[in-house]
């Protein structure tokens, strides 16, 4: 009897892709699909992509807009990385952003204190609130073995509407738009993140984010916590025998993750909105884009920085398209979806390059 050797066909595809630089492949795949959509919309892809590129990175002005957009994405991405690398597969970035932003805004607006105290306590209060919010899910996981992904998903919604409740009933700004937009008052001029150049959107927020990237990189790769959390991610039992308090690490990781995500929200309050605008953080999707950035760069802070900027570029480029052409906004959504989808395939290829061997890749597919 004979058995043909057939399987491998997808492996061959991967082999074939391996040498190429994956993100490029991913993006070009996505661009092709986007192009089809555009042709359907009866407009010339090349022109549109031209505008998109221009609108994303084409000039100081546009670049600064993109970097400003990238700021919360980077921070949220770092937050996700910290949690995920120690096997805490939470997706609560959005909720933590919301809570953080809200608390920070409220303190900054209502705390009767000198500006610098306002500033410090508002930022600290905000991020701690976010961290705390994240700790709830840690507790649920610890005590009830509740899947982090589910609890955090639920808490995204809960947080959003509970905050909305407080705004509508206690902190609503009725002066502007007659309270039609559900938002708080503005935070004082003096403490907002200063712009580098009044004509550009870019604030120091971005540079703080970059600083945080370096900080997190250091935290992950140089510190004891970094080692412990990484090992917890690899093998919990091993850590128990090594004397690492895995539980402590989980709580810590989720707290830090919450703090970073919350800071993403705070940076939006201080750099973009100057107030908490209900729904803006949700429709902005920074938390989710950040999560994507974290996953496609395998939790590497530098990778998060780069991919965040690219993903932000797709967003600003997207708005640019809608300004320069008649192509509907949805095209940029389609592009975003495709690009992240194709980039996700990278993970495996990268691993295959790193260690073809390790026995448990399928487990490491991540969630």
């Amino acid at each position: 009897m004979k058995f043909k050797i057939k399987k491998m066909n997808y492996k061959q595809i991967l082999k074939y892709l391996k040498p190429l630089e994956q993100p490029i492949v991913a993006i070009s795949f996505a661009l092709v699909i986007g192009a089809i959509a555009m042709l359907l919309a009866k407009s010339n892809p090349l022109v549109v992509y031209g505008y998109m590129l221009k609108g994303a990175f084409g000039s100081k002005f546009y670049l600064s807009t993109t970097l400003a957009k990238a700021t919360p994405i980077i921070l949220a991405g770092l937050g996700a990385s910290i949690a995920w690398r120690s096997n805490c597969f939470g997706i609560g970035g959005e909720g933590q952003m919301i809570v953080g932003a809200f608390v920070a805004a409220i303190i900054a607006i209502y705390l009767p204190a000198p500006m610098w105290i306002k500033f410090v306590s508002s930022i600290v209060g905000g991020v701690v609130a976010g961290g705390g919010y994240s700790l709830i899910s840690a507790y649920l996981f610890d005590k009830f073995q509740m899947s982090l992904s589910i609890s955090t998903l639920m808490m995204n919604y809960a947080g959003r509407f509970i905050v909305l409740y407080f705004i509508v009933n206690f902190f609503l700004d009725t002066s502007s738009t007659g309270g039609k937009l559900q938002q708080t008052y503005k935070i004082p001029e003096e403490i907002r993140f200063p712009r580098l150049n009044e004509d550009y959107a870019l604030t120091i927020g971005f540079f703080i984010a970059v600083a945080v990237v370096i900080l997190v990189w250091f935290l992950m790769n140089k510190t004891k916590y970094g080692y412990e959390s990484k090992m917890v991610g690899y093998n919990l039992e091993f850590c128990r025998f090594g004397g690492i308090k895995a539980k402590k690490i989980m709580y810590l990781s989720l707290f830090i993750s919450g703090v970073l995500s919350a800071f993403a929200g705070v940076s939006e309050v201080y750099g973009t909105y100057f107030r908490y605008v209900s729904g803006s953080l949700v429709s902005g999707r920074s938390a989710w884009i950040g999560l994507n950035a974290a996953l496609i760069s395998a939790y590497n802070p530098i990778g998060v920085l780069v991919s965040s900027i690219i993903l932000a570029g797709i967003q600003t480029g997207g708005s640019a398209i809608s300004r320069f052409t008649t192509v509907p906004l949805e095209i940029s959504q389609i592009l975003q979806g495709c690009i992240t989808l194709f980039i996700s395939a990278k993970i495996v290829i990268k691993w295959r390059r790193k260690n073809t061997n390790s026995k448990k890749l399928n487990v490491k597919g991540g969630m």
Binding site: N235, G242, G243, N357
Partner: protein, 501 residues
């Protein structure tokens, strides 16, 4: 000639795991496949079972060339494999596990009744009785392996591969397994056995095939060879049991007082009183599952005891944290190296500093100095002759023997005054075994205390200055190197009482 593998080559990237290997197998024959860790045994068998694709080479069954591109085709061809790491569904029943892949069907439903009956019959046929409704979870290892074997037989295969089947078995279970193998071969099944225990080879095998670094270095009929020759072929040098020199014992490093652990009403440890002095190796003999694991865990702060005391270097460390126990100078080589002893995806360096990365030599105020760590790892690799490219490669890429060496190296290197070693030589080749034993003697020589837990009575007898026998959580007896003898200990291990002797 029934099965024939010709010119098998297999490489993983730059590693050549199999180099031009030929293998043949007769009907009803038991062929032993021996060789050092990383010699290429598992790989060769993975190729035969279709888990890996050979880089080149041919396979013939009954003179006809076959292409094996996955377990399913191997099974179709009548080749089955009992893998080293059990491949079972823990929350399924014995029946469900055994019939998996060829489940009996009714019109549209899974015919559980028939499946159950089949399993019972199968058990009868090969006399490997099993409770068909038992759930795998919480089954003793021996029975799990029995499930694995029946699983293979259920696929009615003619060739059965065993990869280190005895590594994790108790002596009793081993004897039974060997009996089973003989049975099977009588019934016309051909068996390939991978093992590091040459006495087993001598006992069951008809023929043996020796491998070293990917190549076949010898093929002998058992009747005209002996352990010495085999081990020489394997390691390329003579293994000599050297004399154990005496060491003056010092003060007590470890002591347990009335250590008791009851796990919901069941008494797991029952007033255990043992101690270890400096400069002695104390063995704990016992059929595994009689509280040894729990004893280690309670000593090491992984479990809290219900009553009693654990004293280390005169300090009470009862029910404190692992970290605290380690800091008081206790080190542990855990029983299961893959689960408790290492992180497969971690680098060798990351694995080498586990347990004491927090010590001043490696980290100052929260910052780990990876330069030092990596130097340290290189030293370990150097001193313990771990076969590795560099300290950046992942643990999973080390051969089992070598990862075991690294783990032992890590725990010894702490210069802790008290070392607990659990099954230190499970699954490692005789060369590595000798090496590890010598390392333990060295540690003993510089006046540290060692507690040795092993289900290998021979290992216990060879290494221990004193021996405690454990049965159902109780210490049933104590022996010195002089008074210790196999019969008596074996008798106590099975629940006999000292005075009855």
């Amino acid at each position: 000639m029934f099965l024939k593998m010709e010119h098998i080559y297999k490489n993983y990237g730059d590693i050549l795991a199999n180099k031009d290997v030929d293998l043949d197998l007769k009907k009803g024959e038991i062929l032993a496949l021996v060789g050092e860790n990383g010699a290429g045994k598992s790989t060769l068998m993975k190729v035969l079972y279709g888990l890996e694709e050979a880089t080149s080479g041919k396979i013939f069954l009954n003179g006809e060339e076959v292409y094996i591109n996955g377990p399913s085709s191997a099974i179709k061809l009548g080749i089955g494999m009992v893998q080293q790491h059990f491949m079972l569904f823990n929350s399924f029943t014995v029946t469900e596990n055994i019939v998996y892949g060829r489940e009996p069907k009714g019109k549209l439903f899974f015919d559980m009744a028939k499946a159950r009956q089949d399993v019972i019959d199968l058990g009868k046929k090969y006399d490997l009785p099993l409770d068909p409704d038992a759930v795998i979870e919480g089954m003793p290892v021996g029975l799990r392996q029995r499930v694995e074997i029946l699983k293979v037989l259920y696929q009615n295969t003619d060739i059965i591969i065993f990869d280190e089947p005895t590594a994790v078995l108790t002596p009793q279970e081993v004897t039974e397994l060997l009996k089973t193998m003989k049975n099977l071969s009588k019934m016309g099944k051909s068996i390939i056995l991978i093992t590091h225990k040459l006495n087993e080879v001598m006992e069951v095998a008809d023929r043996t095939l020796v491998m070293r670094s990917g190549e076949k270095v010898g093929e002998l009929m058992i009747k005209d060879t002996n352990i010495k020759e085999l081990s020489y072929l394997m390691v390329g040098r003579h293994i000599v049991d050297k004399q154990v020199e005496k060491v003056e014992t010092g003060e007590t490093v470890f002591e347990s007082i009335d250590l008791t652990l009851t796990d919901n009403k069941v008494s797991v440890l029952d007033n255990v009183n043992i101690h270890v002095k400096r400069g002695e190796i104390v063995g704990i003999a016992g059929v595994s599952g009689n509280g040894q694991t729990e004893l280690v865990e309670t000593i090491f702060g992984l479990k809290n005891c219900t009553s009693g005391k654990v004293i280390v270097n005169g300090e009470d460390v009862t029910n404190t944290s692992v970290m605290n126990v380690r800091n008081k100078g206790v080190a542990l080589v855990p029983e299961d190296r893959n689960v408790h002893g290492s992180a497969a995806l971690g680098t060798l360096t990351e694995n080498s500093i586990m347990g004491f990365y927090h010590k001043d030599e490696f980290s100052k105020n929260g910052i780990i100095d990876y330069k030092v760590a990596s130097q340290f790892t290189d030293e370990l690799i150097e001193e313990f002759k771990v076969v590795a490219k560099n300290n950046k490669q992942t643990m999973s890429s080390l051969s089992g023997g070598n990862s075991q060496k690294l783990i032992i190296a890590r725990e010894i290197s702490q210069h802790s005054s008290f070392l607990i070693v659990s099954e230190p030589t499970r699954g490692v080749d005789i060369g590595a075994m000798e090496f590890i034993h010598n390392k333990l003697f060295e540690k003993r020589a510089n006046k540290d205390g060692i507690l040795l837990i092993s289900s290998e009575l021979t290992e216990i007898l060879k290494l221990s200055d004193r021996v405690y026998v454990m049965y159902e959580g109780e210490v049933k007896g104590e022996f010195t190197r002089e008074t210790a003898n196999e019969e008596e200990i074996g008798f106590l291990m099975l629940g006999g009482n000292k005075d009855e002797v």
